[in-house]
């Protein structure tokens, strides 16, 4: 008995001690109302890594965009503007070699930003030992692809620091989107001394990295929050008005909404449930995205009915996407084609404005085509098909809607298989589906980013749709340095893709969000980082 009592009390003491100890782990309560030059934001995921050579996710790229700066950065209108580059580059006669002059700018520790920092960072990303999962974004540079695949040496790669302030870039061929491409996170500079000092731990904590952008990362509580402070060393620090930006990590849409409604944060994404009750508020806005959702149709299975173009077309025009957008998903517009409306066409117009196709919902025509297609295949009745998609609630809603539409409009019975992301990839890779729901977001601001993925043999083309004419056009465009002709070829390629219904585009997504009206000039980008805080300020007196 006495033993027992002793044990109980030891237990109690241990318990109290551990409670007290863990109480030390509480974060500080530093977020609050937007006051002065402080704002509070929400991020939906913990950034895995702030090593720009290895980052792959939007949370990391967004932070990097605000704490670092490449040759160009995205401006208020999401167009590339000069960053570390002092002026527009000089071009060689063959238009393949660009020479950049860097401006006088410092890292946050006071050391100057040099051309060497760029050369080092880029080659580090391409180096196969780095195992970067985004190095392929640099393939436009001469010998980059070869070096990344271990088939060329580092010194052969077309990036060269001529001197401290001069950077030479040699391209495989000239491309119209070079400036946009250079805003991408993988093209940010890195300091060799800092990277080597921290090795594997580089950029895992704010004190293990340096910054050359408008802000510095002052604190990073993993899985919980991080904080930006104004960077006093930034070359254009007079433009930067915010002193502090607190970012809280909240993964649940309802939780984020609650935090916004109690004034803990000044910005939140809005889950589809909350759209109706918020869409008339002045704080409501649609954050642009470049994501297009589409359905791939299996061309490899022996008895796939989707080998028939009429049936594919029936699926494409037989789903009422307008109703889906208005009443169910509420976060986008029906896809008129495959290339997102965010993508540029020429200097004046977006690709979509110039497009030669426009997908329109037509259930009667769809039914007619479907029946004709079945007849051509010699079938009385279509077999039940399986549609594979992600297991997120948005994807499940989409699957549910598509299933019902195909049943009602075409009489096609569909079985839904919603699976985790990795499983969907695996299914796609193995061709283990009839219909496959997927999404694509651009890596750079050009239609090529979309159209090349459905060429024959491209690993992303999992339905294995193949069209010679299409392949040829895309290939020609890839090699074409006449940008007007190139655009024409891409527009034509998209037209062929839609007319042959190689895939069935569904909708262009955008993210409904709420933001405190006192926050001005926070600029959102469809491609690359989510937003720029460089010009953001808090309006006083409201």
């Amino acid at each position: 008995m006495r033993n027992w009592r002793k044990l109980t009390s030891t237990f109690a003491i241990l318990l109290v001690a551990s409670l007290v100890l863990s109480a030390c782990s509480f974060g500080g309560g530093d977020s609050g109302d937007a006051k002065g030059n402080v704002i509070n934001l929400i991020e939906t995921a913990e950034p895995p890594n702030l090593d720009s050579a290895r980052s792959t996710d939007s949370a990391s790229f967004t932070i990097l965009n605000n704490v670092n700066e490449g040759l160009y950065r995205l401006d208020q209108d999401s167009k590339p503007t000069l960053g570390m580059a002092a002026e527009e580059p000089t071009k060689s006669d063959d238009n393949k070699t660009y020479t950049f002059k860097l401006r006088d700018a410092n890292w946050s520790d006071g050391k100057p930003v040099t051309a060497k920092d760029f050369e080092y960072a880029w080659k580090r990303a391409m180096n196969p030992d780095t195992a970067s999962e985004y190095a392929f974004i640099m393939n436009a540079i001469d010998k980059a692809e070869e070096y990344n695949a271990g088939k060329a040496k580092a010194k052969e790669v077309g990036v060269n620091a001529i001197d401290d302030k001069t950077l030479e870039i040699r391209l495989k061929q000239d491309v119209p989107y070079l400036k946009d491409l250079l805003t991408f996170g993988t093209f940010l500079p890195q300091r060799q001394d800092i990277v080597e000092k921290h090795g594997e731990k580089y950029a895992l904590d704010p004190d293990k990295m340096v910054f050359n952008g408008p802000f510095v990362l002052s604190e990073w509580k993993h899985e919980s929050s991080f904080t930006y402070k104004k960077n006093d060393q930034y070359w254009e620090k007079d433009v930067v008005k915010l002193d502090t930006v607190n970012v809280t990590i909240s993964k649940d849409a309802t939780t984020s909404m609650n935090l916004y409604n109690t004034g803990k944060v000044d910005y939140t994404g809005v889950g589809s449930e909350f759209i109706d009750s918020n869409k008339d508020k002045p704080e409501y806005f649609l954050q642009p995205e470049s994501t297009v959702f589409y359905t791939e149709m299996n061309q490899i299975k022996e008895d796939s009915i989707f080998k028939n173009a009429k049936i594919r077309k029936a699926v494409m025009i037989g789903i009422d996407r307008q109703t889906e957008m208005d009443k169910i998903l509420k976060n986008g517009v029906p896809a008129a084609g495959f290339v997102s409306p965010a993508i540029r066409g020429n200097d004046d117009k977006k690709f979509r404005e110039l497009a030669k196709v426009n997908i329109e919902y037509n259930p009667q025509e769809a039914k007619k085509l479907f029946d004709e297609g079945l007849k051509e295949l010699g079938l009385d009745k279509a077999p039940t098909v399986e549609i594979v998609g992600d297991d997120t609630s948005g994807a499940k809603d989409d699957l549910t809607f598509v299933k019902e539409q195909l049943k009602q409009n075409l009489g096609l019975e569909v079985k839904i298989t919603s699976v985790p992301f990795k499983e969907r990839l695996e299914r796609g890779k193995k061709g283990n589906f009839d219909l496959l729901l997927g999404g694509w977001a651009a890596d750079y601001n050009d239609a090529m980013s979309y159209l090349e993925i459905f060429t024959t043999g491209y690993s992303y083309n999992r339905g294995k749709w193949s069209n010679k004419q299409y392949d040829e056009l895309v290939k020609k465009a890839q090699a074409n340095e006449n940008f007007d002709e190139r655009l024409e070829q891409l527009l034509e390629a998209e037209k062929i893709m839609i007319e042959d219904a190689g895939i069935a585009p569904g909708y262009f997504r955008s993210s409904p969000s709420l933001i405190n009206q006192k926050i001005k000039d926070m600029h959102w980008h469809a491609i690359g980082p989510d937003y720029s805080l460089k010009w953001t300020y808090v309006e006083e007196g409201k």
């Binding site: 027992w4 509480f26 996710d57 196969p128 195992a131 990795k422």
Partner: protein, 309 residues
Amino acid sequence: MLKYTLKRLSYMVVTLWIIATVTFFLMHLLPGTPLKNEEKLPEHIKEQIMEKYGLNDPLPVQYLNFMGGLVQGDLGASYTQDGREVSGMIAEGFPVSAFIGGQAVVFGSIVGLLLGLIAALKRGTWMDNLSTMIAVFGISIPNFVLGALLAYFVGVKWGILPVALWESYASSIMPSFALALVVVAIISRYIRTEMVEVLDAEYMKTAKAKGLPRRTVVFRHALRNALIPAITILGPLTVNIITGSLVIEQIFALPGIGEYFVKSIVNNDYTMITGITIFYSILIVSVIFIVDILYGIIDPRIRLSGAKE
């Protein structure tokens, strides 16, 4: 006792080895790779990176490498949070989970014990039914619904406690409360069941006949015996509450370890899967060990039969 403890410890090591092995081979059945940008990555570069991480080696080779690291206490670096050590990530998240979970278990056990006692001593009366109702209320709504209700009413509508985040002690109250109700329900049910049985036992009549005060009878003789199943369940329950608070941690945006259980599997984060499994296993194996020792202290009969082995 020392010999017994050593023997148990060696069993624990074997148990952990088997679990690590089983988990290792099971997780390699998962579809896909641990790469983050797997979807967009060109196939040949993907192969090259897999090669670099040694993920293309034959499974037995990978297994030996994994075991080699494990023996040296190295769980490896996470694939999804590349560069961060798995052990470091667990060490950062665990105190948060342990705090809300521990608080929930302490509070839940006390309330559960009281409710169970009342129900047993007043069996068949309205007090019995009432305490059943209270206990059942706790488990009648899944905790994600309860968490959402609490966050909305207590946090947003009434503004009594913070809606989410991990900022002060107040941040831990709602999450712990949401977790504690399950403990209340389970503990009170077990206590009631056992007490009812024990109260009818012969030795209870003896104790009463000896003229012992009711309090002594109930607490010293009855409760001590009734605690056995409750303790059996309490240890594992604690571990499960601490590690399984995924839902509550997500609703209240807490930086705990709960989410790693699902996230690591969904992302094929091999090192994290094995790391979190081994961590969980060590916890539960230790708890079972402690429970067995507690048994001996509370119930001398078990000590006897244990000694016979």
